[in-house]
């Protein structure tokens, strides 16, 4: 039980990283990257290639993979999101989904079907914490999320770039008026979003194995927690993600893995039925 809760927390942390990625792009541009799960997968794959094929030390490979995904985010926004947003179309939903399909199949082609291990010294021998066997990496994950959260706060609060991003999220027109390059901010938000997903990927890779389809379900569940927490509420997302990870692990542990999807997603629908803008979303009054 305790073990299920601990590893559920670690899983929830991964959801929160990917889910905060949805939040970031939604705030600046009202768009979402439906290839977030694939971005996470790509981060893990990049780290794996750098470690295994290039022999880079793990921390360096992880950092490089995360940076690479930042570039990926910029490209994605430029090529698969912006052209449609400029037209006022919602085709970015389909285009980002399609990019996800392409990525997964490219990796499948290069990598084959079976998952590969991403070597990590912290995921070799389990340690015992209060009677629960757990990998040190699983304990490290919440620490990383905490650091990311603190980092994000500092970035948004005290740097010009962070403030410009927040301004864009708050009011696009006004930001344009005070000379903020809104397009650049949206691009940046996509870069940050993909980087967060990559952080999730390099952290979970050693635990679940790296494969082309590793990101699909995680990306979907991260979307679910982002919605349940409220797309505009980072703290809500964090809480929802941790709760989802723990709950899911418990249900999965006792009732099997298909049951946990059924319970999880039913819960999502029920929450939205009661709170249409998420648990922490304010019910905004329609302007008439």
């Amino acid at each position: 039980m305790f073990q299920l809760i601990l590893s559920g927390l670690a899983l929830g942390c991964i959801y929160s990283l990917v889910a905060l990625g949805y939040h970031i792009t939604f705030m600046t541009s009202r768009t979402l990257n439906f290839a977030q799960g694939s971005a996470m997968m790509l981060g893990a794959v990049a780290a794996l290639i750098l470690v295994v094929d290039f022999g880079w030390p793990t921390p360096l490979a992880m950092a490089a993979a995360i940076l690479l995904l930042g570039i990926f985010g910029l490209l994605l926004e430029r090529l698969a999101v912006r052209p449609f947003v400029l037209r006022g179309s919602v085709a970015w939903v389909m285009s980002t989904l399609a990019v996800g399909i392409i990525l997964e199949n490219v990796v499948l082609l290069v990598f084959g079907k079976s998952p590969r291990g991403l070597p990590n010294a912290l995921a070799l021998d389990p340690v015992t914490v209060l009677g629960a066997g757990i990998y040190p990496l699983e304990l490290l994950i919440p620490v990383v999320v905490l650091l990311v959260a603190v980092g994000a706060r500092l970035f948004y609060g005290s740097t010009m770039l962070g403030r410009a991003l927040r301004a864009t999220a708050f009011d696009r027109e006004a930001s344009l008026a005070v000379g903020i390059d809104v397009n650049r901010m949206v691009g940046l938000s996509y870069a940050l979003s993909s980087m967060l997903a990559a952080v999730g990927g390099v952290l979970i890779g050693p635990l679940i194995g790296v494969s082309s389809h590793m990101g699909f379900l995680i990306g979907l569940k991260a979307f679910a927690v982002a919605i349940v927490g409220g797309l505009e509420h980072p703290v809500g997302i964090l809480v929802a993600a941790l709760a989802y990870g723990v709950l899911e692990n418990l249900i999965g542990g006792y009732f099997g893995s298909s049951a946990k999807e059924i319970f999880g997603f039913t819960l999502v629908i029920l929450v939205l039925f009661v709170r249409p803008t998420g648990l922490f979303g304010r019910t905004t009054l329609r302007r008439v």
Binding site: F26, L32, A80, P83, F84, R87, S89, V90, A91, V93, M94, S95, L97, A98, V99, G100, I101, I102, E104, N105, V106, L109, F216, L220, F223, A224, I227, L231, G256, S258, A259, E261, I262, F265, T266, V268, I269, L270, L272, F273, P276, T277, G278, L285, R286, V288
Partner: protein
């Protein structure tokens, strides 16, 4: 000739398609017949999704769920209970439709990503249940040995199944075409184009969305049912998230909100992977790339691009000659009894009693009470931020007052949703005209007639003579109303192409179509030139003479002082004064708070 084609074109096309399907299999061989049959099944599902995503604007990323429910219901009824293709079909459709109602429940108040999430979750839940509940569904193995469809006791050959599927596509398409030409079609598009305006003409956005979800799910269920019997076996793999994306892509690629879109999209999307068969490994990569490329190149889908129109709502069928030449009363009798009473009878049509409205800590209205007399012109004035629009929103059911009561025709209507208030006979125009942009001027006015969808679903599906007569009467009445408000443009023009002043007039005509006992107008003169204000002045007087009371929020003092029977002045959410124009002009509190000495000089003495 052209009107003949407009009425019968799709019917002829459907007959032609079935005729071609009769002879085609021998020409193209078994393999391609099979592929085309599959494409036909996908087209049925895609048509259903088109109604939901294209016409009604509710994108579903979980349609594979409904498709699966239809397939499994049919397959299980056949293998476990021995039902045949035809006897099981109604059940498959009903169960899928019921799931549609269920999903519509949480979806009606959701938008964008939140709606997408519910549909995604639904699809995944269904798929997981198929795997998990293996005693019933056969788990990952699925259901095997589903009997082939029969007709009159004879097992159908592949060629005959193909014929059956093409006929089903034809029926589905004709059904959708009829629906989109009926009042229901206008309701679907109205909800997509402008939910607020839809509520204002008495359409329940919830009801309309539920209807769209239900029909859409039913069609997906029918498609799944046919798929199961056609394949002979089914497994959860065919109903994963990818299948939902496939259906949505088919609709968008073909042309969302066009009748032919799904028909064009489905075969292409079915054959495309086959064409790529020799690049087995690259297949899905190319597939993804093609989706992105087509989104770039064909933003409106194939059909939309060819016809240069994103969504196209066909006009209502013209009245057949010699049929129902006498105009049918549209909704005058008993529809809105409140309006039939003699105007100026001196009694109250709407009354606010101690209405408070606060948002968070901000008090927008503070104990407002006043009454509007039947058939009168009652103006509501006050400085910006006085709470005039909030008051209109409370009155018309868009906001629920924090405290106090609203009465209409003696009945309490406090907290009633806006579409119900509208149906009672309260029409509304907005500060910026709220029209259904991609509907024509005439269709906008037609959308105003109340109760036109009630009990008319079957009539809509078949465009019965009764519906034709009603539509003809509504058309005549709508044209008369456009004339009444002084609209001189083209009634066939799209509403979003109209100049500003014309939009106002169309909105007023649409409001009048509701035969309202009260019409609440929010700054109708804003942005009009002096000539137009003059016309408006006269129009409002004529509206009142017609029997509708007018509640007028307006800053234009010439207009207000000239035509109002009574004036209520609001300031900071409080009622400052009420009286005749002369009394208001002489009221020192009003002069101080709002009019100011200068303004008063300009206003004509009443």
């Amino acid at each position: 000739m052209q009107s003949f084609l407009r009425s019968w074109g799709w019917v002829l096309a459907a007959i032609a398609a079935v005729a071609v399907a009769w002879v085609l299999p021998s020409a193209i061989g078994r393999y391609y017949t099979q592929m085309l049959a599959l494409a036909g099944i996908y087209a049925i599902v895609a048509q259903g999704l088109n109604l939901l995503a294209g016409y009604t604007g509710q994108a579903s990323l979980g349609h594979a769920g409904f498709y699966a429910i239809g397939a499994y219901t049919g397959a299980l009824l056949a293998t476990k209970l021995g039902l045949g293709f035809w006897s099981a079909l109604p059940f498959s459709i009903l169960v899928a439709a019921a799931a549609g109602v269920l999903i519509a429940l949480p979806s009606f108040k959701l938008d964008g990503p939140y709606l997408a999430m519910v549909t995604i979750a639904f699809g995944i839940i269904v798929n997981s249940i198929l795997i998990e509940w293996s005693e019933l569904t056969g788990g990952t193995q699925g259901v095997l040995n589903i009997p082939r469809p029969t007709f009159a006791g004879v097992r159908l050959t592949l060629e005959n199944q193909f014929l059956l599927i093409v006929a089903a596509v034809a029926v589905t398409t004709l059904f959708l075409r009829n629906l989109m030409r009926s009042p229901w079609g206008r309701a679907f598009v109205a909800v997509r184009e402008n939910p607020i305006a839809a509520q204002a003409v008495g359409l329940s956005t919830r009801g309309v969305k539920t209807m769209a979800f239900t029909i859409s799910a039913a069609l997906a269920g029918a498609g799944g049912h046919i798929f199961a019997f056609f394949q002979g076996f089914i497994s959860p793999e065919a109903f994963e998230f990818e299948a939902s994306i496939f259906f949505l892509t088919t609709v968008i690629f073909g042309g969302a909100g066009t009748l032919a879109g799904a028909l064009v999209g489905a075969p292409i999307m079915t054959f495309l992977p086959e064409l790529l068969q020799r690049f087995v490994d690259f297949r899905l990569i190319i597939y993804g790339a093609l989706i992105v490329a087509s989104l770039y190149a064909l933003p409106l889908g194939i059909v939309g691009t060819v016809f240069r129109r994103a969504t196209y709502l066909p006009d209502t069928p013209s009245q057949p000659e010699g049929l129902g030449a006498a105009p049918v009363a549209v909704n005058r009798p008993a529809a809105n009894p409140a309006s039939s009473a003699a105007p100026g009878a001196g009694d109250t049509i709407v009354a606010l009693e101690g209405v408070h409205m606060s948002f968070g800590g901000v008090r927008a209205l503070n104990g407002i009470s006043f009454a509007v007399e039947r058939g009168s012109i009652h103006a509501l004035i006050g400085p910006n931020g006085a709470g005039k629009t909030v008051l209109l929103n409370v009155l018309t059911g868009y906001y629920r007052p924090t405290e106090g009561q609203v009465r209409f025709d003696g009945k309490l209507i406090t907290g009633l949703p806006s579409h119900r208030v509208a149906r009672l006979g309260v029409a509304r125009t907005f500060q910026t005209a709220q029209l259904f942009g991609s509907l024509t001027v005439l269709q906008n006015v037609l959308a105003g007639f109340s109760g036109q969808t009630d009990g008319r679903f079957i009539d809509s599906a078949f465009i019965t003579p009764r519906l034709r007569r009603e539509e003809a009467a509504r058309r005549a009445a709508a044209i008369e109303l456009l004339d009444f408000v002084g609209f001189k443009g083209d009634p066939g023009a799209l509403a979003n192409s109209l100049p500003f002043g014309h939009q106002r007039l169309v909105e007023i005509a649409r409001a009048l179509a509701m035969e309202p006992a009260l019409i609440a107008m929010d700054e109708p003169a804003a942005g009009l030139n002096p000539k137009e204000v003059q016309d408006l002045d006269e129009l409002i007087t004529r509206i009142s003479a017609r029997g509708s009371a007018v509640l007028l929020v307006e800053h234009h003092m010439d207009l207000v002082m000239g035509i109002s029977n009574r004036i209520t002045v609001l300031d900071h959410g409080e009622k400052l004064a009420e009286g005749t124009p002369a009394e208001i002009q002489g009221n020192p509190k009003v002069i101080e708070a709002y009019l100011g000495a200068e303004d008063l000089d300009e206003a004509p003495a009443a």
